[in-house]
Symmetry: C2
C-alpha cells in the first residue's frame, strides 16, 4: 500500500461505499453509514457523486420507511447499466461468451463448439474476436459500449501481464493472449486462470459473498485452485495464481501431460480419467471427442463397475488434495465446483470420506467444505466479473 | 481495511517512514522521502515526532554528506532502546529465551534444558515465567521495562487468541498459553507457531527483508511452514497459520503422531527419522534422549549406509513437499532453515533433486530456493520480533 494523501483517503472511503452497496444492496444510506463507520454526511456526499457518475442508482423507494420523520426510504443499488463487460471462457472443446451488465446479469450469451486446443493462439484470438463481436451485437450493443473483456482459461496464467505460460488450451509456449485479443477488439482485456475467475465470481455473487478468505477447487479438464486471502485474489510470482492439479498425489506415479509424474490431474481430472479409461480398455485410444467423458460418466452411473471405480478413485484423490490444502493453509471455507462433479455422489462420497480421513482433527471445526453446482453462467459471470472487479478494485489492492 | 480519516492517513505515512528506517536504515531523510514518495516536509515532521517519542535516533552524522550545501548528512535508525522485548522458543527438549532490543539485538539469553513435552501447560508456563524473569535480570533490567513477550512453539497455534490447539510440546488439549504466561509476568504475550516466527524474523532481519511474498520451510522436530503474503503473515481460519508436516506424502503410509497416516512429518522430521531408525533397528526403541538425532546424524555423516539412507529419504520427501508448495502457490522465494538441515549435503542434495524433478518447468525461473542456516539467534530474534512487529504493525494489517 502506498503512502496516503487526501486523494487516497477519498478513494478508500468511496471503495467501501461501493463495496457495501455491491454486497448488501439495495441498501439505505443510513445502513451504509452503519456498516462502513462513515458519517451520514460523508455517505451522502459519496453516494451523490456515485449517482452523478451513474455507478449506482435508486433501486427502490419505500414510502414511510423512516419511522421517525415519515420520509420515504431510498434504497441504493449498483446501476446495472453503469458498465457492460464481456466474459469469455476457453476450454479444450469450446469458447463460451457472455455479455453482462455491471451486476453480472447476462445480456446475451453464445457457445462456440470449437476444439480450441488444435488451434494456434493467433487463430484462437481471431475466433474469440468473432464470437465477442457477435455476442455484443446479439445484445443490441455496439463495441464502444463495452468497458472490457475478461478471458478465463485453465493453466499457468500471468493475470497481471495477461500471458499464458502453459495451458492445455493454448499450449506450452508463452502467449501474450490478453494483448492479442485487446488488439483485435480495441478494448482492455484481462486474462485469468479459470479457477481464479470462479473464485472472484464466488466472492462477488456466490458462496464467498460474505467471506474475506476462502478457497475454490474447480474440477474440470484440470483440477484448479483459486484463493481469496484478505478479500484479495492470491497471486504467486509473476502474477501466476495457485494450482492444485500438479501437486504430487503419488510420487513417481502416472505420467501427466505437464511432463511430471504422479500429479493429481493424472488421477482426477477429466483428462486423467480418460487416460486411465483408455489404459483399462474401457475406451478406445486417442479418440478426442468432446462428449467422451460424458459417456464414461453415464456408464459409471448405470452401474458399470470398472467405470464407477475410476470416478470413486478420482473422488478419493481430490479428497486427499482438499485435505492437504486444509492441513496446509487452513482456509475457513473450501468451495468445490465444476463440471467434473457431474458424477454426483459416486465422486462426492469418496471425496468427503478421504477429506475426513486425512484432515487434521483439530482443524475440522474451522473448515466448511461446500459443493456449488453453478450452471454455465458461472463461467460467463466469472470471466465478466474479473473485468468488473478491476473497475471497482479496492485502492490498496490496485496492481497497476 | 477500515474506512479512512486523517488519523488513519497519518498512521499510514508514519508506518511507511518507520518501515523504511527499519528496512533500509541508517538512512537520510532525503532518501526516506524518495523511497516513500512523501514530501521532504512530511518526512521531517514525522521523523521529528518519532525522535521525540524515542522510536528512532540519529545513528550517524557524516560531515559534508550533502555535496551541494556542505551540510552534515544525518542518518536515522531505529533506536534500539525504544523497546525491550523477550522471545521464548519452546521445543520438545528445551526452553530458549532471549531479551532483545528494538532492533532485535540480543541483551541476554538463556537455555533451559527441560523436557517440556512431559509437563502440563501450567507447569510449562511456570517454567517460562522463571526463565524470563531470570533472563531479564541477567540483562540488568526490571520486568517493568519489558514491552512484551513473544512465544514460539511448533503445532496448530491460534496466533490471534494465543491458544495452542495441538502441539507436540503442549499436547492436544486447547491451551490458552499466551494468557497463562501473561498472567504470570504481567506483560502482553503473543503466541505463535514457530515457523511463522521464523517467517517474521526472515522478513525483518533475514533473506525476506526486501520481499513482500515468500515462504519459509522449517525443518526441525516437525516440518513447519510460514508464509508472507503481501507483506503480511498468512493466517487461515481461527488465526491458525499454515503447516507443511501433515500434508500427505504417501496416502495410507506410515503412521504419524497426529493420528493420520503418510504425513510428511513421518518421513522427514526429526521425530519421523527417529521412528524410522527404531523400526530399522538402528536405534533402541523408546529412548527419548535429546541428543539421539545428533547421534544419528553423526553416524550418517561417518558413512553408515542405513543411517545415510534415512537422511537422503528425508531430503527427497522435503523436496517433494517444497515442489508441491511451489506448484500450488508459486511463492517467488522459498527459504529452508532449521536444525534438521544439520545433515548438510546428505539431505540437501536429494532435496534439490526432488524439487527439480517435481516442479512445473514453467515455474522454475520464477522461484528461488534458498537455504539459511541461522544460529540459535534465529529463534530468539524471531520470537522477540513477533512482539516488535505488533508494536510497529502496519495500520491496515492491525488485527485488533
Amino acid at each position: 500500500m502506498k503512502t496516503a494523501d487526501p486523494e487516497l483517503m477519498r478513494a478508500i472511503n468511496r471503495y467501501h461505499v461501493i463495496d457495501t452497496i455491491r454486497r448488501d444492496g439495495p441498501i439505505a444510506r443510513v445502513e451504509i453509514a452503519a456498516r462502513t463507520d462513515l458519517s451520514p454526511a460523508s455517505v451522502s456526499a459519496i453516494t451523490a457523486q456515485l449517482m452523478e457518475e451513474g455507478l449506482i442508482d435508486i433501486h427502490h423507494v419505500a414510502p414511510g420507511g423512516d419511522a421517525v420523520r415519515g420520509r420515504p426510504r431510498v434504497l441504493l443499488g449498483l446501476n446495472p447499466a453503469a458498465y457492460t463487460v464481456v466474459g469469455v471462457k476457453l476450454t479444450a472443446f469450446r469458447i463460451g461468451i457472455a455479455v453482462t451488465d455491471a451486476r453480472g446479469g447476462s445480456l446475451s450469451s453464445l457457445v462456440l463448439p470449437i476444439r480450441v486446443a488444435r488451434q494456434s493462439p493467433e487463430v484462437v484470438a481471431d475466433l474469440v474476436e468473432d464470437g465477442v463481436r457477435r455476442c455484443v451485437a446479439d445484445a443490441g450493443l455496439a463495441m464502444d459500449r463495452i468497458s472490457g473483456v475478461g478471458v478465463g482459461l485453465p493453466g499457468v496464467i500471468d493475470g497481471i501481464d495477461g500471458v499464458s505460460h502453459w495451458s492445455p488450451v493454448l499450449g506450452g509456449t508463452p502467449a501474450p493472449f490478453a494483448a492479442a485479443v485487446s488488439r483485435r477488439l480495441g478494448v482492455p482485456v484481462l486474462l485469468e486462470n479459470d479457477a481464479n475467475l470462479v473464485a472472484v465470481a464466488e466472492h462477488w455473487f456466490g458462496l464467498g459473498r460474505d467471506q474475506t478468505a476462502f478457497a475454490v477447487v474447480t474440477v474440470e479438464n484440470t483440477i484448479g485452485l483459486g484463493l481469496i486471502v484478505d478479500g484479495k485474489l492470491y497471486r504467486g510470482a509473476h502474477g501466476i495464481g495457485p494450482a492444485l492439479g500438479h501437486t504430487r498425489l503419488v510420487p513417481g506415479g502416472l505420467p501427466c501431460r505437464c511432463g511430471l509424474r504422479g500429479c493429481l490431474d493424472a488421477y482426477a481430472s477429466d483428462w486423467g480419467l480418460l487416460r486411465m479409461a483408455e489404459e483399462a480398455g474401457l475406451l478406445p485410444q486417442g479418440d478426442d471427442a468432446p462428449d467422451r467423458i460424458e459417456g464414461l460418466v453415464q456408464r459409471a452411473l448405470a452401474g458399470e463397475v470398472a467405470a464407477a471405480a475410476l470416478f470413486r478413485g478420482a473422488g478419493q484423490a481430490i479428497g486427499i488434495a482438499v485435505s492437504n490444502l486444509v492441513n496446509l493453509l487452513n482456509p475457513p471455507r473450501v468451495i468445490l465446483t465444476g463440471e467434473g462433479l457431474r458424477a454426483g455422489p459416486l465422486l462426492r462420497e469418496p471425496l468427503l470420506e478421504a477429506v475426513a480421513e486425512n484432515m487434521l482433527p483439530t482443524l475440522k471445526d474451522g473448515t466448511e467444505i461446500l459443493f456449488h453446482s453453478w450452471g454455465d453462467e458461472m463461467w460467463a459471470r466469472g470471466a465478466a466479473t474479473i473485468m468488473l472487479r478491476r473497475i471497482y478494485e479496492a485502492p490498496w489492492n490496485a496492481t497497476t
